[in-house]
């Protein structure tokens, strides 16, 4: 017997499928075709079975079914919990880049307006500098732009909080280990929770250090110790000599946490407690591990 989109054909007998295009598409997804005995569908067969009158109608029916199927597949893909988090994280990281770029430009602009001004010996962070420029030049072109950048900065802060909140929902274990933002960045780097869960710990450790990794693989550069994971305080606060170890241990636990997130979808306190203890030990320089 051969199963086609319009029904089954068993030794010249047609068993037509009745239902909407969406139903037909769902049925196609459930079919298991053996490619060894496979015989492609023939539109003349469909006409003989009474599915359609001619080729034009055959194509139009088939197209309806296939469009319905593809639309549903796209919908399903986007309905996954991690998909919106992915876009939010990428937006956040791009906003950072844009805000930094614009802030630098506005600072240069401000220095043209105020020739005696210099940022040397000042501890003013860039975002305050932009804010000051916005206030001192209120109403002018510079002030308007500076105020817009400041507003963008506020939107960025709100988005960061939302990313962090969502991350603890989508990846409860990973977020508990390395924080929502870093967890979300790992996710956005590989394109999804499922993809991240398939990575070995060694790959998670150097995610985001691609240039260094290829320099290592192709030339004789030293291997990178950490990538995105460096953003976690336990890695960047660790003494230089221990960073590699902390990063390695942390990556190992993150790899497990991501899999728990994917397959259980809830926080696992026993795992978190033991993982935290293990990472803390790595950071103390205790060699008996």
């Amino acid at each position: 017997m051969q199963s086609y989109w319009f029904g089954d054909i068993d030794g010249g007998r047609c068993i037509l499928f009745e239902g909407s295009p969406a139903d037909a598409a769902a049925r196609i997804r459930s079919l298991v075709t053996s490619m060894d005995t496979y015989n492609p569908p023939d539109w003349r067969q469909a006409v003989a079975c009474g599915v359609c009158r001619d080729r034009i109608e055959y194509l139009s029916h088939l197209q309806k079914v296939c469009i319905a199927g593809a639309e549903e597949a796209v919908r399903e893909h986007y309905a996954q919990k991690d998909m919106e988090l992915l876009q939010m994280t990428r937006t956040l990281d791009e906003m950072d880049t844009v805000i930094n770029l614009l802030s630098e430009r506005v600072a240069d602009w401000y220095m043209v307006r105020h020739p005696s001004f210099s940022r040397k010996y000042r501890k003013t962070p860039a975002h305050l500098m932009v804010k000051n420029a916005g206030q001192r030049d209120r109403g002018g072109a510079l002030g308007t732009v500076a105020q817009e950048i400041a507003r963008l900065g506020e939107a960025r802060t709100a988005l960061a909080q939302e990313v962090s909140r969502r991350a603890s929902d989508v990846m409860p274990n990973t977020s508990a280990l390395i924080g929502g933002l870093v967890a979300a960045r790992l996710l956005s780097h590989v394109g999804g929770l499922r993809q991240l869960a398939r990575l070995p710990a060694s790959a998670i450790q150097v995610l985001g250090a691609r240039t260094a990794l290829f320099a290592h693989l192709q030339a004789h550069a030293p291997a990178p110790k950490h990538g995105i994971i460096f953003q976690h305080r336990r890695v960047h606060n660790a003494p230089r000599s221990l960073r590699g170890r902390v990063a390695r241990v942390l990556a190992g636990k993150v790899a497990i946490a991501v899999r728990l997130d994917l397959y259980r979808g809830r926080a696992v306190p026993e795992f978190l407690a033991s993982a935290q203890a293990r990472i803390d030990r790595a950071g103390t320089g205790n060699t008996e591990l």
């Binding site: 086609y4 989109w5 490619m35 492609p40 569908p41 023939d42 079914v65 296939c66 469009i67 593809a70």
Partner: protein
Amino acid sequence: MIWIGDVLVSRGEGGVYGERMIGGARVWDPFRSKLAALYHAGIGIDLLPGMRVLYLGAAHGTTVSHVADYVDAVYAVEFAPRPMQDLLEVARRRRNVIPVMADASRPEAYAPVVEPVDLVYQDVAQPDQVAIAIKNGVFLRPWGDLILMLKTRSVDVRKEPGEVFSESVELLAAAGFSMQESIWLAPYHQDHAAIVCKKDQPVISRE
């Protein structure tokens, strides 16, 4: 193929991706489309009105829309959801584009919908893209044609493009595809080779 002077065009509803129009025909840019680059190089399989095509790696449907202007039906397979949204829009406006969201390396998923085709066009840029083409040979009618756009950097970055190319041709020959023509798509596309072959015996899948 339809040429206006030395410009390759296709006749159909325009405005799909902001393509230029000449005398009511849609300009098919060789820098944007590898298939157009192949025709500009003077080789490739002529697209004829009665043809059925299986198009693997349909992406946003820009090249698909041009192919659909020429032939009877295009089965357009694409795996990624983002380009599929664009491809669906193309399909809604063209009667002969059948969109399929599936992994081209698993043809059994779309076997219930794809007819025997005259041409398999494959542009998926995967490390195992030759194996994918061979698997999809089951949809090809005897003596049907296969056009494979080989992105050598996707197959293996460390190997020389020429080496990847000759290995691919050997694999195809072993699976029952005899090579007709091949060409590098420079200057239009870098490190891309086009391989045109014919299915000359039942395709043997190597698995």
